[in-house]
């Protein structure tokens, strides 16, 4: 109820973060970041992956305690918030993954935490329906969503509106949206924008996280740019433009982490033409030669990962042709690995390692046939091969019997890479090869990828880290919403060029007045 008093004063500051500092191990996730949100504004938060956006959000929701700094909200100042405290102060997050129950109605979901009660303390279904209708009305969606409809019958966009209504039902007035457009088909975007404008007109403050700069310019009043945990700038949207934002988001030095690319590509290993994958990838054409690294860039959900998975038979191909060594593509991961086409997958814990087994077990797993003599696994052959690989890719500690679970992230990743290198592949697909691992291990993995190409192996590397793509690739394909938005040769590599294609920002070189109408 206190919330409504805040809401009633538009343009007052309702949330103020001052000098927030947060360190994880050796990583400075946030360094002296300040941020404020006013009632009745949409404040966009942008930055590359790992820039600190989600850490900042988690400080606001109480998931993380900052090491330093203060949080001002609801008229008081806090060193840190607890999650239920943040909720009571009116903070609510709409995540990409919804917290709604598909088998219940809209009204039941909206009031799931606090059902309106009537006589005998029974749930008052009439009141619940009426209140839900009122909430939907405040969002301008009362005509498209029926409070009695089961949530599972709604579109993704409508479900998202149910999530937002749920936040309103708890009197939230600080609404954080984590890439809300990423889950929506483009035809539902307009309605989301309209809902957000209704919220703004109602006096709510909205923190809007997005990779898509067009949306920032269409929707936001102010924009804050984070990079590597640092606050780069907070600007009025009317006083900035695309190129300035992109420059603030990227623009960092390439170090000597990356080995030089000096080998000549050979014959074509893989040729993909007009690849269609069910509703996510459309008309993708690409090729990879022996001894070259093809980088795949693009934002999350742009189709990079789906293409990688489809090439080893893990996603259903709807149309187009894939020719590997002149033959049709293998249909399963098993048959792909037998012909030397392997995927080092994105999430090593879910797809890469049997965590409760030893390093040796995991390294040997796809290679068991190699160790069999007369039907029996020869542990000497297995141990030798495993030992060679452990030394080769410098896994630490170099003890093959250690549980995979107890290795650091970088060494787990090396085990996943090692198990596939032991199969003597001809084409290796890396999906996010260095996610969540330290700089030293990254450099070793880049070195290893480059060495692969010296022996004529072809490499596809999908990544969301631009410096890595630029440092390692020989060519880069940039994806945007399931299509190839463009291809860059090494001489044209720059973070700006990639971001421009990945965010479908065409006019970056042209100075834009006021940043509107892009």
């Amino acid at each position: 109820m206190e919330a409504s008093s805040d809401v009633s004063q538009p343009n007052g500051t309702i949330l103020k973060l001052h000098g927030i500092d947060k360190t994880f191990g050796g990583t400075h996730a946030l360094a002296d970041v300040s941020f404020d949100l006013r009632g009745g504004e949409v404040h966009a938060l942008v930055g590359e992956n790992g820039a600190g956006k989600s850490t900042l959000i988690k400080v606001v929701t109480g998931a993380y305690f900052p090491d330093q700094g203060t949080i001002e909200v609801g008229g008081s100042e806090y060193q840190s918030l607890r999650p239920e405290q943040a909720r009571n102060l009116g903070v609510s997050v709409v995540y990409q993954e919804f917290n709604i129950l598909p088998e219940l109605s809209v009204a039941e979901n909206v009031f799931i935490g606090d059902q309106p009660r009537g006589r005998l303390n029974l749930i008052d279904m009439g009141a619940r329906r009426k209140k839900t209708y009122e909430l939907l009305e405040r969002l301008g969606t009362q005509n498209s969503i029926n409070p009695n409809e089961l949530v599972k019958n709604l579109t993704v966009g409508e479900q998202q509106i149910v999530e937002i209504s749920k936040a309103l039902a708890t009197n939230a007035h600080i609404i954080i949206m984590d890439e809300p457009s990423a889950v929506l088909p483009s035809r539902e975007l307009e309605r989301l924008f309209s809902v957000i404008r209704f919220l703004r007109a109602d006096g709510h403050g909205i923190i809007y996280i997005s990779h898509r700069l067009n949306e920032v310019f269409e929707l936001a009043d102010r924009v804050t740019v984070l990079k590597d945990g640092q606050l780069m700038a907070t600007k009025n949207v009317a006083e900035t433009n695309h190129s300035e934002l992109v420059r603030l988001m990227v623009g960092r030095e390439l170090t000597d982490m990356y080995p030089p690319s000096d080998n000549q590509p050979g014959d074509v290993l893989l040729e993909v033409s007009d690849l269609d994958i069910d509703g996510t990838v459309f008309g993708v054409t690409l090729h990879v030669r022996e001894g070259e690294v093809l980088g795949l860039a693009g934002l999350g959900g742009s189709g990079r990962t789906t293409v990688c998975r489809a090439l080893v038979g893990l996603a259903d191909i709807k149309g187009g042709e894939v020719a590997y060594l002149g033959k049709p593509a293998p249909k399963t991961a098993g048959s792909a690995s037998r012909v030397g086409l392997v995927l080092v997958p994105e999430d090593r814990k879910a797809y890469g390692l049997v965590l409760n087994q030893s390093m040796r077990f995991n390294l040997a797993l796809p290679n068991l046939m190699e160790f069999v003599r007369r039907g029996v696994l020869r542990s000497r052959i297995e141990k030798q091969a495993v030992k060679r690989m452990v030394e080769d890719i410098q896994i630490k500690p170099p003890d093959p019997n250690i549980l995979s679970d107890s290795l650091s992230g970088g060494n787990q990743q090396k085990v996943v890479i090692g198990k596939w290198l032991l199969t003597n592949p001809k084409l290796v697909i890396f999906d996010e090869p260095t996610r969540g691992i330290d700089v030293g291990a990254k450099a070793e993995i880049y070195q290893r990828i480059r060495e692969l190409t010296y022996s004529g192996v072809g490499v596809i590397m999908a990544s969301s880290e631009l410096p890595e793509l630029i440092g390692v690739s020989d060519r880069i394909l940039v994806f945007f919403e399931g299509r190839v938005a463009g291809e860059l040769e090494r001489k044209d590599f720059s973070e700006e060029a990639i971001m421009r294609l990945a965010t479908a920002t065409e006019e970056i070189d042209v100075p834009v007045q006021g940043g509107v109408d892009l």
Binding site: G334, S337, V354, L355, P366, L368, G375
Partner: protein
């Protein structure tokens, strides 16, 4: 947070010696054999009968039926499944073979062909389990439970009274001894060794662990997941058949009560032996320990003339204590 934790545990692991890693990895096996030594040691001190060679030999022979069933159950549980039908498969084999002996006037010449037939029946039943599970993707517990019910009906249809007419030569499977040791105990020891080799040194054995650890990762690692699962249930049927054939020799008649309650005991032996009921982890050496522990306990209780009801109660406690002691570091950490 995650990063610092990983680094810390990695450095702990690297500083600890190989021996420590071995003990930690095989903690459940040390525990179970420690428990066996403790109980057997105590019984040796306090009971004159327990330590007699004939009683020891008896225990080993008593452990065979549970051992065969627990081996089959281990194969299935390693893949993350469970086979509820093993007692009924064993019973079906025993009753079918007994009926055939009776039908052909106890002809001793039929012993070998009928043993082979029994094995074929067990393998076929296991194959049915495996195919149903991989085709329907239903829970193995429910599928094998259903199959167990069908077999229970089949068995009742075959006979509700003991089937006589087993040739006396067949009973030698149970009786033949070299000195004081029964031949079947020696054969069983060889079977345990072969199964151990299978789980550690054969590709399919390794695949059982991979499938139980994570079917998704196994599939990505070029393991044929469905084929591995079918094999696990076929092996379970195979060992159930051996158990049924052995019971037939022990009882001398086709007993309609063959292997009653043994499914539960086999699961207990596997669990007490430290194989994770979630699959992918544990060792057949532990299962052997579990089988020996249960057999020794039952023997000691009998010698102490503990009432059968209290035996169940004490057994339950042993199971709970053993399983509680296995809370691995991983479980504690995530909890």
């Amino acid at each position: 947070m995650a990063v610092t934790f990983d680094e810390a545990s990695a450095s702990v692991a690297s500083s600890s010696s190989k021996l420590m890693a071995f003990v930690r990895k095989n903690g459940s096996i040390f525990l179970i054999y420690g428990l066996i030594i403790l109980i057997a040691g105590t019984a040796t001190i306090f009971s004159d009968t327990f330590r007699t060679p004939s009683n020891i030999s008896n225990i080993l022979r008593q452990s065979i039926i549970l051992g065969l069933l627990a081996i089959g159950q281990s194969m299935v549980i390693l893949t993350g499944g469970m086979d509820i039908s093993i007692d009924m498969m064993a019973r079906t084999v025993a009753l079918v073979i007994a009926t055939l002996f009776a039908m052909f006037n106890s002809d001793p010449g039929l012993i070998l062909p009928l043993i082979l037939l029994g094995v074929v029946v067990g393998v076929a039943l296991g194959g049915v389990n495996g195919l149903l599970i991989t085709r329907t993707h239903a829970n193995p517990f429910i599928i094998t439970f259903g199959v167990a019910f069908i077999l229970r009906g089949v068995n009742l249809a075959i006979s509700t009274t003991p089937i006589r007419g087993i040739p006396s030569e067949y009973l030698r499977i149970y009786d033949t001894k070299i000195g004081i040791i029964a031949v079947n105990v020696i054969v069983m020891a060889i079977i345990w060794f072969l199964v151990w080799l299978f789980t550690t040194r054969i590709r399919l054995g390794r695949a059982l662990y991979a499938v139980g650890g994570s079917p998704r990762i196994a599939r990505l690692s070029a393991i044929r997941v469905n084929r591995t699962l079918v094999w696990a249930y076929v092996l379970s049927g195979f060992f159930a058949a051996l158990a049924g054939l052995f019971v037939l020799s022990r009882m001398g008649v086709g007993d309609p009560g063959t292997a009653e309650g043994m499914t539960f005991q086999s699961i207990v032996a596997v669990a007490v032996g430290g194989i994770s009921l979630y699959g992918g982890r544990g060792s057949i050496v532990g299962t052997l320990g579990g089988v020996l522990l249960l057999t020794i306990l039952s023997n000691v209780f009998n010698l102490m003339q503990v009432n059968i009801y209290y035996q169940q109660l004490l057994l339950g406690f042993v199971v709970l204590i053993a399983v509680a002691a296995y809370r691995s570091p991983r479980t504690v950490r995530s909890g």
